[in-house]
Symmetry: C2
Subunit: 246 residues, 2 copies
Amino acid sequence: MTSEDAGLTGRMALLWGQRAQPRRGPKPVLTPERVATAAIGIADAEGLAAVSMQRVAAEFDFTAMSLYRYVPARADLLDLMTDLALGEAPALDTSAGWRPALTEWTRHVYAAFRRHPWILETTVRVRPTGPRELSWMERPVAALADTGLTGPEQVDAAVLLLSHVRSQIQYAPVDAATRTPEVAAGLATALHEHADEYPALVRAAGDGAFGPGDDGGFDFGLRCVLDGIAAVVASRRAGPAGGAAG
Amino acid sequence: MTSEDAGLTGRMALLWGQRAQPRRGPKPVLTPERVATAAIGIADAEGLAAVSMQRVAAEFDFTAMSLYRYVPARADLLDLMTDLALGEAPALDTSAGWRPALTEWTRHVYAAFRRHPWILETTVRVRPTGPRELSWMERPVAALADTGLTGPEQVDAAVLLLSHVRSQIQYAPVDAATRTPEVAAGLATALHEHADEYPALVRAAGDGAFGPGDDGGFDFGLRCVLDGIAAVVASRRAGPAGGAAG
DNA sequence: CGGTTCTGTTTATGTTATACACAGTTTCTG
DNA sequence: CAGAAACTGTGTATAACATAAACAGAACCG
C-alpha cells in the first residue's frame, strides 16, 4: 500500500487515478483522460455503439492496440468516460432549505444526462463508481442532512430523483425529433388496432399522452417525489411512527 | 392492409404477431416464440451477453443462421424476449382505491424484473413496445382514471413508479450476494480514503447506507411516490390551481 | 410429375476486442 | 559512456460475433 489508492483494484483503479508512473522509455503521448475525452466526443456525436477501440484510436491516428497502453480494457474506458462526462457536481444553494436545493440538483443531473445520453447505456450494469460520479451523490445527501431522514433514506431519496431523471431521458432521447415519430406512430397504430384491450391508454392518448405535445413528465415527477419526501420528513418530525408505504 | 396489423412495420411486426403464413415447403420446426423462450432461459441463467444467435440456436441443435428464418435480426429477438418475459400484466384490485392498486402493481413489476433482470439492458434504448408490455401500462392508468389526473399525468405517474422499480433492480442485482461485496468494498475503500470530499456520504454510510443491512429503498421510494401522487390528486380535487414543482 | 416455395445448412464477409511479440526510444545503472 | 532495462506504439493473429448469399432437400400445388 504505497499509493493513497492502493486498496483499489481492477476497474476501480483507473477511475480513481491510480496510475503507474513510468520512469524509462518514450513519453506516452496520450493519457487515459485524453483517450476517454475523445471517446466521449464520439459517443456524443455518433452514439455509444460507434465507440470502438479502433474508432477512438483513429482520433489520434493511432492503432487500436495502442489504447491498451492507457486503458486495461474497453469496459474501463466506458467507466472513465462516464465519470468524466458527468464531471464534478456543482455546489447547491441550501440556504432556502432542502427542497429548492434538490430541485436545482435534479435539473443539473438532467442537463448532464441530456448532454451525454449514452450514459444511460454505460450505467445499466453493475460497475465501479468514480470520484466525480460520487460527488453527484454527495450533494443531495448533504442537503438532506438536517431533515431527520436517516442516512440510507437520504441516499434513497437522491436515487429516487436520479431514477426519475433517467426515465425522462430514456423516453425522450436527444434525437426525439427524428426517431420518436416512427416509434410513436407505430405505438399509435397498434394502440388503435387493439383499442378494446387498452381502453385506459386509448383515453390517455386522446388526452395527449404519447403525443408530440406531451413534453414529458419531468415537472410532474419531480413534484411528486419532492412532495413525497416532504411527507416523510414531516412524519419524521411529528414523531418516529411514520405511515406505511401502501 | 390485409392483416389486422398491416400498419406495423419493421421491428414492430414480429412483436405484434404479424407473421407470413407459409403454404408450401417443410413445416417450420420452431416459432419466434420458441426461439425467444429459449433465449430468455439463457439470459436468465447466464446473462444477456450469453444470448448470441449461435448460443440460442445450439439450444435446438440448429445453426445460427437457421434462426433468421424466424427472427429478422437479433434486435427483434431481444424485443420479443422482453415482451414475452414481462408477460401479460395481472389484473389489479381497484376496489380499495388507486393507492393499494398501484402498490400491488409496483410489486408485480418488481417481481417481473427480478425474474428477468436483463430486461433492464434490453430496454435502455428506444425500441418498439409489445402487446404484453403495453398491458403493463394499461393497468395503472386505468386505476388512476377517476383521480382527476389528466391522461398524460396518469401515464407519468406509472412511469415514475416504473423508474423506481428499475433503479431498485439495478442497484441490487440478482447475484448481489456474489457481485455486490466486491463493488461495495471498493466503494467503501474509496469513500474512506477520500472522506474529506464526501462527508455526507461517509456519515450516511455510517448509518448503514451502501451496507449489507441496507435492503434497498424500495418501500421508501414507493411511499414517497405514492404520497406525492396523493398530494397532486388532492390539489386537483381542491381546485384546478395546483402548486409548483420546486 | 414438374415446378414452386420453403427450411435448415454451408460458406463467406466484415467487425469486434484483445493476446503476443517486436522494433525503436528513452532512461537508469555501473 | 556502454549496456541493460523499461516503456511506447505497431504488426500480426485469434476467437467471437452478426448476418449476407447461395444451396440441397423436402413439401405442397397444379
